[in-house]
Subunit: 336 residues, 2 copies
DNA sequence: CGCTCTGCTGCAATCGTTTGCAGGATGACC
DNA sequence: GGTCATCCTGCAAACGATTGCAGCAGAGCG
């Protein structure tokens, strides 16, 4: 069926070794031989068998990516970055979606580990010990999570929260609520901690933690009423999808955004510019995170001895749009 | 480093063959031997080497998925379906993103083909001849495209357009415009043809083709002014993302939706419920398409001789939301 | 006790490539 | 023309699993 190196060798009148060398290390083969081999290989449509090559070299030319939910635009964008960077380096990408289930991440990782040179875990929900175990078993890079000495790409969550709080305080808000994501989310823990700490630094400002919610629109919908009942005039959400849920619930209840309450999301996923009001959001480098993860991983793979530990910390930037406004806007006439 | 079947065999005091059989065909091994082997294998953390297994069996246990743009929520949802179904069948998924470039689809497919049992091409942009070639080289299933006898999963585009036109005519619209997607998109061609044909069936209704646009928000933004200039009171968009661009541009120009113009999208991606106004859209079975593609592919893989040709045609359902309204709404007082 | 039959297990070949090593041819230089 | 170095090519051994085939042991039966 498929044409093998042996077939090419037979036709070209050389040995299998020469075929192999002509493709992998052309300089080791005499010019005329090489040209002839390459020509017949191309002519016969020869493509080396990846499994056989992997077996002998130990290299697969693949990387693996595990995300909690590919339908979440955040992960779609990170995946895009991984794709682009991997392709430009000649690597193919395995992807696995844990469906937000922390308990299967380990198994997914182990299944993939055998067929890849390295693994990128994006926002893994599993406990840190699981990550430690996996890091011992295969080369891996964490994106959007930090754990001990495991190489990682993270964003400056604290700075993002700082910018959000600063923005809201500048608008006059003094009672702020945080709508959390999953309890298993590391970035949620980071953001919550930063929120409570940075919010507490201002004597005139109160901060409220509304608890954990599913990272879906439904999570934000569920949090909406709590947010209103909390008396907060501004809400920071774990991510943009949850913020959409808030906007949705507020609309249902006739609460105007930003006149009655301001909403800030996190991630700045592409659609956040399109809601109405458009969402003010802490912008994270989504595609770049994916690219950086691949770069780091390939660095580890290519240079096994080098850089035993490495962390990338990427900058964030608040994007102000229509969902945030002055605290006292409600007092003014509603712009019909 | 990694523990091989030979290691397990040595410890368990059996031959490699027995280890292999204990795992793959337990019934061929005596109960006590099998238990001992499985126990030591588990104890040593043995995992068979995928490359070696692939080499001898010819089966990889992987499937490949190629999409034009993973950041487009349509493809994210289809990917989700592929993921879920593949995982439940014990398959891992390779994914490749062509970045909307038809010319690299063939190369991506061929690279993946070597490492998978079958390939799913979702909305491929490549010419039909390229698909014919690929179908000859590897088992593949098309999703969201039909081409000759290549197994495919499609949706009823014509029925979707019929429902959209019916809805808009019921609202009193008599001049309708279609904002197209990429010229390379098969579903765009289908929808455009259906639009022109079905629209033309009504003597009192005029249809306008506004041309091809990029399947991004920017494409819709670019089409917005043409739509207004066309004199149409209602616009059907190639997909929801393009429709978002229309909404965006209309907002910029102060054109009210749906009072001044109605907008219908296609796909009903999750975020379409969240824009304001929420988008009326021809709902496609996104996740189901992915699942169906996997089912079809695995059917082909498992039973090489069976079903030489097979097509799945899935139903669609218009979802009516706030972006469509009566044609004469503009005459009524604007609800402040 | 011996024969046959069944049921396990091991041997060894195989998948398609890579790569260290050896050997042959060629050319250069004395 | 001989010697040596250089360059290229082929041989053969891996890599780690699967699997047809053969052989052996044990049981059953006459």
């Amino acid at each position: 069926m498929a044409v093998s190196a042996r077939d090419v060798a037979r036709v070209a009148g050389v040995s299998v070794s020469t075929v192999s060398r002509a493709l992998s290390r052309p300089d080791d083969v005499a010019a005329h031989t090489r040209d002839r081999v390459l020509a017949t290989a191309r002519g016969m449509g020869y493509r080396p068998n990846a499994a056989a090559r992997t077996l002998i070299t130990g290299r697969t030319g693949n990387i693996g990516l595990i995300v909690p939910d590919i339908e979440n635009p955040f992960f779609a964008s990170v995946t895009k970055g991984v794709q682009l960077q991997a392709r430009s380096a000649g690597y193919a990408v395995f992807i696995a979606d844990s469906d937000e289930d922390p308990s299967i991440e380990r198994e997914l990782a182990r299944n993939l580990a055998k067929q890849v040179d390295g693994l990128i875990l994006c926002s893994p929900r599993a406990p840190g010990e699981v990550l430690d175990d996996l890091a011992r078993e295969c080369t891996l890079v964490l994106v959007n999570r930090r754990r001990g000495d495991i190489p990682s790409v993270t964003v400056d969550n604290r700075e993002g929260v700082r910018q959000a709080i600063g923005h809201l305080r500048a608008l006059g808000h003094r009672r702020l609520a945080y709508v959390g994501g999953p309890a298993t989310s590391w970035s949620n823990r980071e953001r919550l901690a930063a929120f409570l700490e940075l919010g507490g630094e201002h004597e005139d400002t109160e901060v409220v933690d509304l608890g954990f919610f599913q990272p879906y629109v439904s999570g934000g919908v569920a949090a909406g009423d709590l947010a209103l009942a909390s008396g907060a005039t501004a809400v920071l959400a774990y991510n943009d999808v949850v913020a959409f849920g808030l906007l949705e619930r507020f609309r249902q209840r006739g609460v105007r955004v930003p006149d009655d309450v301001s909403v800030v999301g996190t991630d700045d996923i592409p659609v956040s510019a399109l809601t109405s009001p458009a969402l003010t959001s802490v912008g994270l480098p989504l595609v770049s995170s994916g690219r950086a993860g691949v770069d780091m991983l390939l660095g580890l793979v290519g240079d096994p001895a080098a850089v035993p530990v490495h962390h990338h910390h990427l900058a964030v930037q608040l994007v102000v749009r229509g969902s945030t406004g002055p605290r006292d806007a409600a007092a003014r006439p509603h712009p019909g």
